[in-house]
Amino acid sequence: MPTLKVKVDRDKCQGHARCAALAPELFELDELGNAREKGDGTLPNALVEKAWLARANCPEEAIEVEEKA
């Protein structure tokens, strides 16, 4: 299995906070309410569906799910 990582594009994020609401295990918000991935963004298999859900609900399309070798 390849390793998956989630990443918030900080330039695109406008703080809608949908990702943190839908997948709090993967995303957190800063003091202004803008999102970032938790830790290094490594995506456990059990949370893949949540990551896609967060991605599908981000109005700014700021969430990336990438394969990491």
Binding site: G15, H16, A17, N57, P59, E60
Partner: protein, 393 residues
């Protein structure tokens, strides 16, 4: 005032036309296919993109579109700044950052118990009655009180706030005299409140913003008044409209209502779908440089109605866009805007709508539209039911 009837929505639309106010969705659906960027000579020239991608393109383009005018009005009023919503880059970012910390999900969570108490008290007030006006007696009362609490103003000021909002957002579209009078009154009101806090600071947003600085400099009184006016106006009408639309839907769809009563965990998902389908807020932009969007030239000096509600009904982005599906999981809706002007109050609004539904459905699981009464809708910038008579049981 009677307005000349619209014969062609593509070339002569009027968002104050009674047909648009009553039910705009079929008009937008038709435009989206036939004329994705409509135009009108009314209001001194306005464009209306109805496809998601064009709305998005305008929202993201701060080079050709300015937020210095955000409401389409009959006459150009003197510019009344309400930063950051009326700010363009580079002033926009620092003005927005001043307000953001008070509106993060964590900050808003602190207001949830009070909101719950307000909602519960309102619903308990309906005990023994056969029905109520779910817009005036419930939806409107919630944000007015929550914002008052946040700003540090008496909850009982609701009537005064509602009058100003009606004058600024609705009557003011065609009546600059009413608009300017209401603006003057809000400024005078906030000046008194700011003065009070100079001697005795409180734990509220007025005190907090009075002390705010940008680059180490205190913000000007104009900036402060503009930001306070923005919070008051944008924080009330928008949310009451959103709450009202949820109840309008549920009063007519017993299957959705029963599902939410049985499955309250679905309420947050349903709220997103109501926000998509009945998005209350249409902003505007001023074209400041000629540009082409969606194959249509936009001329400098004219306005754009930036309809997030129309974008949210675009079937290219939302399958079955005209259907309200409360279990819709993938919902990248634009109800709170797109780009740098994302609604600061989105977390607050979501909390209020969710709590409003939870507290009502717990106590009044069954209700329907009163067949003997008429539902009426607001016009202009914010869309929501103004009268929503429902019968319980």
């Amino acid at each position: 005032m009677t307005r000349p009837p619209v014969n062609d929505w593509s070339t002569d639309f009027d968002h104050l036309d009674p047909r648009w106010v009553e039910n705009p969705y079929p008009i937008w659906d038709e435009l989206r296919e036939k004329c994705p960027v409509a135009h009108t000579e009314r209001f001194r020239g306005v464009y209306f993109p109805s496809r998601y991608e064009d709305v998005r393109a305008v929202a993201y383009d701060t080079e050709h579109f300015s937020s210095r005018r955000i409401i389409v009005r009959e006459t150009p009023p003197p510019r009344i700044p309400a930063p950051p919503i009326t700010s363009d880059p580079p002033e926009h970012r620092p003005a927005k950052n001043l307000l953001l910390p008070a509106f993060t999900p964590d900050a808003i969570k602190q207001h949830e118990p009070r909101t719950r108490e307000i909602c519960a008290r309102l619903v308990e007030g309906f005990a023994g009655k056969s029905g109520c006006d779910a817009a005036a007696d419930y939806a409107q009362e919630i944000p007015v009180r929550v914002i008052a609490v946040m700003l540090g103003l008496p909850e009982e000021e609701g009537d005064r706030f509602r009058k100003w909002i009606h004058e600024i957002l609705e009557l003011g579209i065609t009546r600059p005299d009413i608009l300017m009078k209401a603006m003057g009154e809000t400024s005078a009101y906030f000046q008194v409140e700011i003065e009070k806090r100079k001697s005795v600071p409180r734990d509220d947003l007025i005190t907090q913003l009075s002390r705010a600085t940008i680059d180490g400099q205190p913000i000007s009184e104009d900036h402060l008044l503009g930001a306070l006016r923005l919070i008051l106006i944008a924080g009330i009408d928008t949310t009451w409209s959103a709450i009202g639309s949820c109840f309008w839907h549920l009063a007519q769809h017993p299957e959705d209502r029963q599902r939410l009563v049985k499955e309250p965990a679905l309420i947050p998902t349903a709220v997103e779908e109501f926000l998509r389908a009945y998005a209350p807020v249409t902003m505007a932009r001023e074209v400041i440089k000629d540009v082409e969007i969606g194959g249509c030239p936009f001329k400098s000096g004219e306005m754009v109605l930036l309809s997030f509600p129309a974008a949210n009904r675009d079937p290219r982005v939302f399958p079955n866009a005209d259907r309200v599906m409360i279990g819709r999981k993938e919902n990248r809706h634009a109800a709170f805007g797109l780009g740098i002007h994302r609604c600061i109050g989105s977390n607050l609004a979501r909390m209020e709508i969710t709590v409003a539904l939870q507290e009502w459905l717990k106590r009044i699981p069954e209700f329907r539209l009163d067949p003997a009464a008429k539902v009426t809708w607001s016009e202009g910038t914010v869309r929501g039911p103004r009268k929503l008579p429902v019968l319980f049981g």
